[in-house]
Symmetry: C2
Subunit: 197 residues, 2 copies
DNA sequence: GTCTATACGCTGATAGAC
DNA sequence: GTCTATCAGCGTATAGAC
């Protein structure tokens, strides 16, 4: 995977055109409501090329999946290498997710919102994927350090990131019309200090 | 809607058999991976009857949608009529959702997990539906009373219910193998008092 | 490597008997 | 009201030309 989808070289190579076209269509209409012909038309390539490169519709979805998880993963790694405390790392991840939700909407939608099990065979649930494991590891580290409240690590991770993910879903659904970064500080305060007045 | 799906009379009427069969199949395999013939077989009725009663595959999905939202709504109303404080009402809703997630798994999956926009035309996002509005109203009431921290009501609602919804998703995905009610008290503590140690 | 034309299967939907 | 048999259309995938 020589480059990230959002940093494609110019002129855009054919496989990249196919991926971005498919991503847009899958997110907008849902995987099952998109035909190979739709992708072919939008990408400006032929059906033959699509089968040559990805072996079919599901092949594109699987390639997208690994590709975008990879981007997620690099994002998490960049946060980790900044070497702050676990709490600050969690905050930074949420901050970046909120930014991406505005600037790279379809990537976030595909990773956080699509139901991959319904169209990609034998795929592990996405929360078992590398970036999500790392998020949980950060939380566990915070617990071990004594900075995060000691409790079931699933519960802790869900408590810390659940509100953010919920807001992302609502934003993607069009229920929230405010850009998420504007809600960041309120959410962070609620997450760490609780919702009691 | 004379009865709730989970309290169907005996012998089960034909439309109810269709709905429960479709619910099971839709949740297990995803709407688009289920054919009318699958539903017909599982429900033990004919295709003709299905078209007579619901007008087709999407008609079943729409009927399920309104039916199950109705059940959700009654659940919320029962909590509201118990007339506790908003904070206790929120806790009770989460407690019931966790219970339902174990005992009426498919109902929760269909309401909280399915992407209705992908197969039901012109449907409002589900969080605009009555039960979700009521949840937000409860939170707003708590803020007005001075019991819940005053902030953007979307953020507040997402903070309070986001962790629970996230755990429900993980449980439905098979990532968590512990029954959710066992995680209830940890989650509630985290929600109201925050995640700092 | 890229394309076009074609074949085949599946699925949603209907018509008409009981 | 319930059922079975049948149709028409779409969408995936392939074969073969350039």
């Amino acid at each position: 995977m020589p480059y990230l989808l959002c940093n494609a070289p110019d002129p855009e190579p054919i496989d990249c055109r196919i991926l971005t076209a498919a991503l847009d269509l899958y997110v907008e209409k849902g995987f099952h409501n998109v035909s190979i012909h739709d992708v072919q038309k939008q990408a400006g390539v032929s059906i033959g090329s699509i089968y040559k490169h990805f072996g079919g519709k599901e092949g594109i979805a699987r390639a997208l999946y690994t590709h975008l998880l990879n981007e997620m993963n690099e994002m998490i790694d960049s946060v980790l290498s900044a070497a702050q405390s676990p709490v600050e790392q969690c905050n930074r991840i949420i901050e970046l997710l909120f930014q991406y939700c505005e600037t790279r909407r379809n990537i976030i939608a595909y990773v956080f919102y699509a139901k991959h099990k319904e169209f990609i065979d034998d795929e592990e649930p996405i929360c078992s994927a590398e970036p999500f494991k790392k998020m949980r590891a950060i939380v566990q580290q915070g617990i071990d350090d004594g900075n995060i409240k000691p409790c079931n690590s699933r519960v802790a991770t869900a408590s810390i990131f659940g509100g953010a993910i919920r807001l992302i879903h609502l934003r993607l659904d069009g229920v929230i019309d405010q850009p998420l970064p504007e809600l960041y500080s309120d959410l962070i305060d609620a997450t760490w200090h609780g919702m009691l007045a």
